[in-house]
């Protein structure tokens, strides 16, 4: 593609892209995000292409692989344009049917339509599906429409328009002001106002020998929370939106070099980002003299080796510089002295992606969404014991109830909600009583949790909260960099105490010790990881103290999870001796002849629970 040398040339190319694609031309877009790929999206794509070819419609029907559509639970999902018909759980074997329906006047394939489990109604389009209907999709709006590997697709839906707007007549101060007024806050978790961060960075820096002030901008895509995949999906599905935001950031902050720090464990995101960067460079949207406006800006892709702590900004900087990924004390903050000692702005993937939208549609539009202090939309990955697992983009201030029951479709298997863990391992568990809590930065902090990067793990009544706290502590103990003493030793001690409680060896005074340790880590740790590491323990202690006490006083795990405190037994009056449990028992702990009641050898039983799952007459009891 020829290089674009001016803003009108960009608009001309966009016009060509729009004209070149017939809006009425049938197009099958298949989600090829990591979730759907795992469910077989690649096979589906191949099958669809073959079917289209077989039908001789290769020139009439397009088949496209897109980024994540969000509804991972029902993957692989696909859309049929121009109607936007939504199909879920599409297998490669159904490909021919889909293509046939498109050829025969777009009559939808009934069996692939989503059926609302509440009303039993079949949903034709995404808008009708309750999961999508309650969302406000801004960042993920185009994920189902564009091929992330084609910059022309992004241009067609209005991509890089904000770059044209900014370069075409805005001042750097004006851009910062727009971002400040929009009320955008850092989407990485802490919620620092982005505009304030930018103006702080602009106020710092000394001119070098050439009279230029060097500043850097970084996109933090080192998403490491268990159960979070928003940043990955955005980079996989719409990498150009992030690049667009970064170009605007470079203009506003006078940065010549940007970095995207992405986990190497996200191969698809790395690949798509790589392609996107290459295409943007080819078009002259990155590089020297961008669109003939004299702006020079390049982006380098840096792959992280998977340390959780490298998501902390100072550790991330150290990692980019080639040093060990360990945080250093702030102040000085990166906006004063960051990468290579120069003022640096680090923002999350979603923050950068929001910038383009804000500039494009104006700060009034953005600040109209959300609550008083938390503006805009937030992306959550809704996972755990919930019917509709997936990515959800909602306006700030939505209640937990709406998230879980309206969008998430409630708790599966007729169980009830117990808690929601928000904000990854550094966040906290919010109990079911607080279900009407509006989700914004302040409210979550007040409840002892935090926004975090947006992981939302739903737990039902079969979850042991002590075990959950232990799990997160185990994660953090491994991921603590070990540099400062309270975090390194505190996580180890906390894990030891929690393990002890889970095994029924806890003492009541352990709870005070946990409180003390939690306070210590929060107050004295060097970086954000240590300061928030105790949150899962402190919130479970605050809301589920009785559960801790049951483990300690009665040596009972109320949720029947902690292995040392439970016993599996077979009720001989119910057992019909089918032998199903014998087959699944890995430890050969189940004894008994066929058609006679079986018995569990407690010495051999590993308490995996496999027998309970397969037992049809429900003879296996746990106590």
């Amino acid at each position: 593609m020829p290089r674009l040398n001016s803003i009108p040339e960009l608009e001309k190319l966009r016009a060509e892209c729009v004209a070149g694609s017939d809006a009425q031309r049938p197009c099958l877009t298949v989600c090829a995000g990591s979730g759907c790929s795992a469910a077989g999206a690649e096979d589906l794509l191949t099958a669809l292409r073959k079917a289209v070819e077989k039908a001789g419609m290769k020139d009439q029907i397009d088949v496209k692989s897109t980024g994540c559509h969000g509804f991972c639970e029902r993957g692989p999902v696909m859309l049929v344009w121009p109607e936007g018909t939504f199909y879920n759980r599409v297998t490669a074997s159904s490909a021919a049917e889909v293509v046939a329906s498109v050829c025969n006047g777009h009559k939808p394939v009934e069996k692939l339509l989503y059926k609302d489990p509440v009303s039993g109604k079949k949903c034709l389009t995404e808008e009708e599906v309750p999961f999508y209907a309650r969302q406000t999709r801004v960042l993920f709006a185009n994920n189902g429409r564009i091929d992330p590997k084609q910059i022309t697709d992004y241009l067609r839906v209005g991509g890089y328009a904000s770059v044209a707007k900014v370069l075409g007549g805005m001042t750097p101060e004006g851009v910062v002001e727009t971002v400040t007024k929009s009320g955008l806050r850092g989407r990485g978790g802490a919620g620092f106002p982005t505009g304030v961060k930018w103006s702080l960075c602009r106020a710092n820096g000394k001119p070098n020998g050439h009279g230029e002030i060097e500043r850097y901008i970084i996109c933090n895509a080192d998403e490491g929370d268990p159960g979070a995949f928003m940043d990955r999906s955005l980079l996989e599905g719409n990498p150009h939106s992030v690049i667009e935001g970064m170009i605007i950031g470079a203009f506003a902050l006078g940065a010549k070099q940007g970095f995207v720090y992405v986990r190497a464990e996200y191969p698809l995101a790395v690949k798509h980002l790589h392609v996107a960067l290459q295409q943007a460079e080819e078009l002259g949207l990155l590089g020297d003299n961008i669109l003939g406006t004299g702006l020079n800006f390049r982006i380098r892709l840096v792959q992280g080796a998977g340390a959780f702590v490298c998501g902390e900004e100072t550790a991330l900087i150290a990692s980019i510089e080639g040093r060990v990924g360990e945080p250093h004390p702030r102040p000085p903050y990166p906006v004063e002295k960051g990468l290579f000692g120069k003022p640096t702005v680090i923002n999350n993937v979603k923050t950068w992606a929001s910038v383009g939208h804000i500039v494009n549609r104006g700060h009034e539009w953005y600040s109209a969404i959300g609550t008083e202090k938390s503006k805009g939309t937030m992306v959550f990955s809704l996972v755990g014991k919930i019917n509709n697992t997936g990515l959800v983009e909602v306006p700030m201030g939505i209640t937990l109830h709406e998230m879980i029951y309206d969008i998430g479709g409630g708790i599966p298997n007729g169980r009830s909600l117990k808690a929601v863990q928000i904000g990854g391992p550094s966040g906290g568990c919010i109990p079911a009583d607080l279900i009407d809590l509006p989700i914004d930065y302040e409210q979550l902090t007040k409840a002892g949790s935090m926004m975090g990067s947006g992981g939302m793990v739903v737990m039902d009544d079969s979850t042991c909260m002590v075990d959950v706290a232990r799990y997160f502590m185990e994660f953090l103990e491994e991921e603590s960099c070990g540099q400062c003493f309270p975090c390194r030793q505190g996580t180890q001690e906390m894990k030891a105490i929690l393990t002890r409680i889970c095994e029924g060896r806890g003492k009541e005074e352990d709870l005070d010790t946990l409180q003390d340790l939690g306070w210590l880590m929060k107050e004295t740790s060097l970086c954000g990881l240590g300061q928030t590491a105790a949150n899962p323990v402190l919130t479970t202690l605050r809301y589920f103290r009785s559960e801790y006490l049951a483990h300690i006083r009665d040596e009972v795990c109320p949720a029947k999870v902690c292995k040392k405190l439970i016993v599996y037994e077979i009720n001989p009056t119910v057992c019909d001796g089918c032998g199903a449990c014998v087959k699944v028992c890995a430890g050969t702990a189940i004894l008994g002849e066929k058609d006679r009641a079986h018995k569990i050898d407690q010495a051999k039983c590993t308490k995996c629970g496999a027998c309970m799952e397969v037992c049809k007459p429900k003879a296996v009891l746990v106590s």
């Binding site: 702590v309 000085p332 070990g482 001690e493 004295t524």
Partner: protein, 241 residues
Amino acid sequence: MPKLRINGISVEVEPGTTVLEAIRFLGLPIPTLCHDDGLRDIGACRLCVVEVSMAANGRTRLLSACTLPAQDGMDVRTNSNTVQRARKLLLELYVATCPQSKTIQDLASEYGVRRVRYDTHNEHCIQCGLCVRICEQQMMAGAIGFSGRGHDRRVSRPFDITSEKCRQCGACLYVCPVCELRCQASTATTALCSGCLNFAPVCFQSYDDAMCFLEPCHACELTGPIRSEIPIKKLKKTLSS
């Protein structure tokens, strides 16, 4: 020049001075384990935390004094209740980690640690990083460094082979706050110190009771009765063997 208040005392310092330096300039006591005047601070031990409030926002936070540059309008409290609580809890953890370090025992008893609620680990390192830094910054060798992460983190040589750069100068041993003054006799988990048994042989001059004269040992004072139960002859025998 930044002007700040430390425990109510106004002090003006050179730009670039850390809060720790300002506190020591005033002669106020502040414990540290990872600080050395000739080395760059990393804020690892967290013992020097002080309560800082900025005039601008009025929010108080605990920050490590060694890494905190003195700024105009700072209000620093070096010994508030919060600071004391933090230090006490920290030292309790330190004693659990390295129960045999005299330095840590002394600090612990000074801050009123009377019992340790954690299992003791008998580690030989608190990862203050002094050895790594002195090797790199003063001896210009860089023969040792940190490897691993979290609980696996430790001071080590590259690939666990003695580096050619190591001149065996012993600076790393010299600065270590833990392996220096290692108490060999303490085995009891409840007592912090069972006497200054490790100051052999000069510790026992012609006193009636074993009394360490090196530093006033707070731990000794605490656990005096336990110490006096050990006959001096037996002590000397243990030490000479």
